[in-house]
């Protein structure tokens, strides 16, 4: 297939167009009513193309995409599970898609009921009292949750608590969100298996600690077995526990963060609840809290009244609004469709299947790839590169070679605990056959690395772009068509 690499501006020819507007029947003269300083002096530089050119252009671009719909996507820490098409069908229902956020709640009862039901379903899966669905994505949820944590201490007059403890293996968004929330980050060390070192944690716990942020399972995919002890210590010191829902998938319907002692959490609907992830998204990062924190959840909230109808409420105790209206409502509809499709029993199958799939790959490859942490993992695991590194083939080389066989690369060089990290998460939605195919290719690449290392180092050999200049791209980014044209 010929590589398509055009930009729509390159197709533009003066005067060409793909539309016909009817004659102006109303004689309106909107432009003359606008203030002069709001009017353009020169016409906007827009592409002038025919309808067929537009269709071909975007169809060709879409064919360049790699997604879960085209192939296996074992990107660790991202939970790239299949997005069932029924979700899209539900979210596109005109009865919902056509709603206006400012219309009278009496005429939008169905949407409010959906919001109410979804937040209740999440609360019951999480073991917490109430969720807000308003945050737009995971990191936004983290920020919202940390604002709740901060506001909780301030509302009690305890203004000394400014520190948030974050494990050194945490996802980068954790310390970043804490900084944005105006809190100070303190790192707690991990043991070699990636678990929090309780002995290292103890001396950090004083009356300046607002709380701790954790994932469970941790970044290496291992369950934090000392979580109850950690929760006890943090609570005794007056701090709160924040659960980053990035790794919730293996626990879904089996273990509840609230039961482990967490006070606040966010969920990535675009990971655990099968809504689209990545560039297409958008995301959604609902935040749940235990009963002593519900009054702080952001405005607006959906409440169910005694007569069974639903209303929109705002409260002065809340920490304010963190989004326009109710966040990404379409994403909530998809997550709700997912929960109802699986049902109470189906949702309990998600975690065990995700865990089984990850362990199946791990055990099938551990003779050829270095496994730094022994024992059963949860939904994902980390290899520290090839077992035999003597030919100089790196994790980056292996990742690029996988592209030649039609697989998306795993997450590489994260976590930083190891030099050659390769983080693999298959999710529960892959078949045994797909997992076997991936295992065969990984074994083949390891063999090539020993026998024909130059091929692996030169990979990918079949993709339109093989070795982009990453340093050049980071140092001299060309981000607009004009910059490219003038370069």
């Amino acid at each position: 297939m010929k590589e398509y690499d055009k930009i729509i501006f390159e197709l533009s020819r003066p005067g060409r167009k793909g539309y016909q507007l009817p004659a102006d029947r109303f004689g309106s003269d909107a432009f003359s009513k606008l203030p002069a300083d709001l009017l353009r002096e020169k016409p906007a530089e827009l592409p002038e193309v025919s309808e067929l050119e537009v269709v071909r252009h975007y169809t060709n671009l879409s064919n360049k995409n790699f997604g879960v719909d085209t192939g296996f996507y074992p990107l660790g820490s991202c939970t790239m599970k299949y997005n069932p098409k029924i979700n899209e069908e539900v979210a596109a229902m005109p009865e919902f898609a056509g709603l206006h956020p400012l219309q009278d709640p009496a005429t939008a009862q169905g949407a409010l009921e959906l919001y109410w039901n979804l937040q209740n379903a999440l609360a019951s899966l999480a073991g917490l009292a109430e969720f807000t669905l308003n945050p737009y994505a995971g990191a936004h949820g983290e920020l919202t949750g940390l604002m709740v944590m901060r506001q909780y201490h301030i509302s009690r007059g305890d203004t000394k608590r400014t520190k948030v403890i974050v494990p050194d293996t945490a996802h980068g968004t954790n310390p970043a969100s804490a900084m944005v929330a105006g809190l100070e980050v303190v790192e707690v060390k991990s043991k070699p298996n990636g678990s929090i070192d309780v002995e290292d944690l103890k001396p950090l716990l004083d009356d300046s600690v607002a709380g701790i942020m954790m994932t469970n399972p941790n970044t290496l995919g291992m369950f934090e077995t000392e979580i109850l002890e950690i929760a006890k210590l943090v609570h005794e010191a007056g701090g709160l526990l924040y659960y980053d829902g990035a790794n919730l998938n293996p626990l879904l319907g089996k273990v509840r963060p609230g039961d482990m002692g967490f006070d606040i959490m966010h969920i990535n609907l675009h990971k655990t609840f099968s809504t689209p992830h990545g560039g297409g998204g958008p995301g959604s990062g609902p935040v749940g809290v235990a009963s002593h924190l519900t009054h702080l959840l952001p405005n607006p909230r959906v409440v169910k009244k005694e007569d069974g109808t639903f209303a929109v409420e705002t409260s002065d105790d809340a920490l304010g609004s963190i989004s326009t209206f109710f966040g990404n409502f379409g994403v909530m509809m998809k997550a709700y469709a997912y929960i109802l499709s699986l049902g109470r029993d189906g949702i309990r199958e998600v975690g065990p299947m995700a865990t089984l799939n990850a362990n199946y790959i791990k055990e099938s490859l551990r003779d050829l790839y270095k496994l730094p942490v022994e024992g059963p993992c949860k939904h994902e695991f980390v290899f520290d590169g090839l077992a035999d590194k003597s030919t100089g083939v790196t994790t980056l080389n292996v990742a690029k070679r996988l592209l030649d066989f039609g697989f998306h690369a795993p997450t590489i060089y994260f976590p930083l605990l190891f030099h050659e990290s390769m983080m693999i998460e298959p999710t529960e939605t892959e078949s045994r056959e797909t997992l076997d195919e991936f295992i065969d290719v990984m074994r083949r690449v390891a063999r090539e690395a020993a026998e024909d290392p130059d091929t692996v180092k030169a990979a990918p050999l079949t993709t339109p772009i093989s070795h982009p200049d990453e340093t050049g791209a980071a140092k001299n980014p060309i981000l607009t068509y004009k910059a490219l044209r003038d370069a």
Binding site: Y413, L416, H419, E470, T471, A474, K475
Partner: protein, 127 residues
């Protein structure tokens, strides 16, 4: 195998120090630049800043990761390597030539606590 220099002292966080009088020249080791990969940006302190041994004084970003720079000594920054602003890749080419900052050392005892080349080589072997 990464390059080591016998006349330098090393921190466990992979910075090197060269002492001339009371001035310490600080950079990152060849082992560190190799582990980071192609370096695209160095966040340096300003002349006149006070740095503290064991604490962050800047950061280095590569295409793979961003990593804090930890000062091996305490004192006042008297000079920074401005070449690195436009050409951070010099650290990849010559980690011991492309120094990052010079510090007027407040406590010479801190330097004695740093590793010598043999001890640092052993540390890297075990990483």
């Amino acid at each position: 195998m990464s390059i080591l220099k016998e006349d330098l002292r090393y921190a466990e966080s992979h910075e090197w120090v060269k002492i001339e009088g009371d001035i310490a020249t600080v950079g990152i080791t060849d082992y560190a630049q190799h582990a980071l990969g192609d370096i695209v940006y160095v966040d340096m302190p300003e002349v006149g800043d006070e740095v503290t041994a064991g604490e962050e004084f800047g950061a280095v970003e590569s295409v793979k990761a961003a990593s804090d720079l930890i000062s091996p000594v305490s004192g006042e920054v008297v000079e920074i390597n401005e070449d690195l602003e436009d050409a951070p890749e010099k650290i990849n080419a010559d980690a011991y030539g492309a120094w990052i900052m010079k510090v007027k050392v407040a406590d010479a005892g801190e330097v004695d606590a740093l590793l010598d080349a043999a001890a640092y080589a052993k540390l890297c072997e075990n990483e």
